[in-house]
Amino acid sequence: MIGLNHYLVISVLLFSLGLLGVLLRRNLLIVYMSLELMLNAANLALAAFSKYNQQLDGQILVFFIVTVAAAEVAVGLALMVALFRLRQTVRVDELNAMKL
């Protein structure tokens, strides 16, 4: 029988993978994808709780998160395209112009 804990473990694993990706990968696109992974790990946890508690609140929240994430991806990708046009790179370690 698959219980709540299984969902939560998967969610934690996904979240950790996403975090590691954000912290370790150099390519901004990959970092972005890892961020989405973290968001969806949270979504998974919310959906699992919603099912387990027999309440719809969590699933409604998931819809909101998915919507916001879609908007955010649109803005983020646009920024990245603009950035690439300006600097010819999307590598994180090369984007350090703010450093004194």
Binding site: L19, V22, L23, L24, V31, V92, D93, L95, N96, A97, M98, K99, L100
Partner: protein
């Protein structure tokens, strides 16, 4: 003032105004119906703050009436004299504007009916004296003398202002009549501050009337034009202090008492201090005058000494003799200065008496009026000075024998240094070619002097005391005597009269033996170091310079330390250093690397969660 380019017009305007004022006060003296205690007051409210109500009020009683006559009379003579004396100066309009402002301010003091208004005019007198002493401001000595006079006065005025404020806080009024009434009804109204108030108000007089220890400005004020010295010494500036003491004499009559802190001094009343200061000033200044060689400086120290006598009289509960002497002194001291001005004019601005000599034959009229004024100053009958000085001596004799002896000693010295001046400058043979070619002063300078001779000689016949007495005591004891009785009145008090006469005679005799026909001053060789101390004015200026320098240096050093180490060091640099150090440390976190920021962010979230959930 109105027309800086037209010298004639400005001079005539000032002279006309002052002479008109003199005639008006003369008419007023005859016409005004001044009841014995009475005072006519006109006032409109000037401003009121909370319960401080200040009126722009004028008070006319016998005291101000007398001063009006003296001030406008002397100032009028001096204005006319200046017309001739200053004719060659290139800044005549400025001179007359300041001179008239001076006279106006003095008249304001005389007529004010409350402390605040009096203080305003008091400051105006200080300002115009600054303008006039430093009139020839191109000369550094004149500019410095102006500053010195202003600063010395400022010290005194600060005390005066504090006294006024204390008096107001104790009585709730600044109006002379009201305060006098209140103090008359409740002598203990001022409480424990009464002596302090008296002393603080006296401070103002110490500054204006150049009493020890603030006397140092007056001799330096000789840097101004000679008519200005005459005005300062006779009618306006220094007279203001004495007049003020007499005007507010009721304050000193309040029950003396000290605050607990100073209980050890409770036996001393303000009047005792005033008498002591007067005595010190009179004696010191007379001693200093003995060894001066500058004709104007001798007169300046003589003024100091006479003012000391007046203050002494006030201190001995005798405002009447003080006012009497103030009146006669105003006339003959103005005359002396105008005479000295004529001499200086004739000698082409030579002021050293040892470079004069034989002037009596060259300028007989000047010499005659100078001699008359000198006799008046020395206190020989029937000249006016005898009567007023005798009044002071008699008043002091009633109070204290020591003070009396000091006053007599002052009289001896007065006669001595004045006749030293007369013998050296006017008698004998000319010592220099300038003295040989001296000429009599022009008519416009002679007439004012001749005008002043009359009151200098005759003012003693009309005794001021019975005229003013109703103002100071409820029952007027002294009857007004006809002039021929007044002539001999001093001899009712034979000790004082003969002491004064003897003192003058002795002084003149000593001066005659030492200086009649002398070629040079023999005192320095006879007295040695003492004469040098006298010549250098007891080194008081030097002592002040050293004390003030040391004091200011100490204060400056402390302030410098505070500024350099506390303000600039700890506060400014400390703040700057802390901020910079914090900034440097925080900068280490700004790597510009997204991974680091992400890691920090994650770490922060973990720590926050741990704090929120595990605790």
């Amino acid at each position: 003032m109105l027309c800086p380019t037209r010298r004639e017009l400005s001079a005539r305007l000032s002279i006309g105004a002052v002479v008109a004022a003199f005639w008006l006060s003369f008419l007023l003296w005859f016409a005004a119906d001044l009841k014995q205690h009475g005072a006519t007051e006109t006032a409109f409210q000037w401003f009121s703050v909370d319960n401080l109500v200040v009126a722009f009020g004028l008070r006319l009683d016998r005291l101000s009436e007398l001063m009006l006559l003296v001030v406008t009379g002397v100032a009028g003579a001096i204005h006319i004299y200046s017309y001739s004396y200053m004719a060659e100066d290139r800044d005549v309009p400025r001179y007359f504007a300041s001179l008239s402002l001076f006279t106006f301010a003095m008249l304001g003091i005389v007529l004010a009916n409350n402390f605040v208004l009096m203080f305003v005019f008091w400051e105006l007198v200080g300002l115009s004296s600054y303008l006039l002493i430093g009139f020839w401001f191109e000369r550094p000595a004149a500019a410095d003398a102006g500053k010195k006079a202003f600063l010395a006065n400022r010290i005194g005025d600060t005390g005066f202002l504090l006294g006024i404020i204390l008096l107001w806080s104790a009585t709730g009024s600044v109006h002379f009549g009201t305060i006098q009434q209140l103090l008359h009804e409740q002598p203990k109204l001022l409480g424990e501050m009464s002596t302090i108030i008296g002393l603080l108000i006296f401070c103002g007089a110490v500054g204006k009337s150049a009493q020890f220890p603030l006397h140092v400005w007056l001799p330096d004020a000789m840097e101004g034009p000679t008519p200005v010295s005459a005005l300062i010494h006779a009618a306006t500036m220094v007279a203001a202090g004495i007049f003020m003491l007499c005007r507010v004499f009721f304050v000193f009559l309040a029950e003396p008492s000290m605050p607990l802190m100073l209980a050890g001094l409770s036996g001393i009343s303000a009047l005792d201090v005033i008498a002591a200061i007067g005595m010190i000033t009179a004696l010191l200044a007379a001693l200093m005058a003995v060894q001066q060689n500058d004709i104007k400086r001798i007169l300046a120290y003589s003024t100091l000494s006479q003012l000391g006598l007046m203050v002494l009289a006030v201190g001995c509960r005798g405002p009447l003799p003080a006012m009497f002497h103030l009146t006669t002194h105003a006339f003959f001291k103005a005359l002396l200065f105008l005479g000295a001005g004529a001499v200086i004019h004739a000698m082409h601005h030579e002021q050293d008496i040892w470079r004069m000599g034989g002037l009596g034959r060259k300028m007989p009229v000047t010499a005659a009026v100078f001699l008359a004024a000198t006799l008046a100053l020395c206190g020989l009958p029937p000249f006016s000075g005898f009567y007023s000085k005798d009044a002071i001596l008699a008043c002091v004799l009633k109070q204290n024998m020591v003070l009396f002896l000091a006053a007599v000693a002052t009289s001896v010295l007065t006669a001595f240094y004045m006749f030293r001046l007369v013998f050296v400058a006017f008698a004998g043979k000319p010592r220099t070619s300038e003295a040989g070619h001296a000429h009599e002063a022009p008519a416009l300078m002679l007439y004012p002097m001749l005008f002043l001779v009359v009151p200098s000689v005759l003012a003693g016949f009309w005794s001021v005391e019975p005229y003013l007495e109703p103002l100071f005591s409820a029952h007027a004891a002294t009857a007004v005597k006809p002039w021929y009785e007044q002539l001999l009145a001093p001899f009712d008090e034979p000790l004082a009269a003969f002491a004064g006469l003897g003192a003058a005679g002795f002084g003149i005799f000593a001066a005659a033996t030492l200086y009649l026909g002398a070629r040079e001053d023999s005192l320095p060789s006879r007295w040695g170091a003492f004469a040098r101390v006298l010549r250098n004015r007891f080194y008081i200026d030097e002592i002040y310079r050293v004390c003030i320098t040391l004091g200011l240096d100490a204060v400056a050093a402390i302030l410098d330390f505070f500024d350099r180490w506390i303000l600039a060091g700890v506060i400014v640099r400390g703040l700057h250093g802390t901020v910079e150090l914090t900034g440097r440390i925080l900068r280490l976190f700004q790597t510009g690397n997204l991974h680091t920021y992400g890691f920090m962010f994650g770490l922060g979230v973990i720590i926050t969660l741990w704090l929120a959930l595990m605790r």
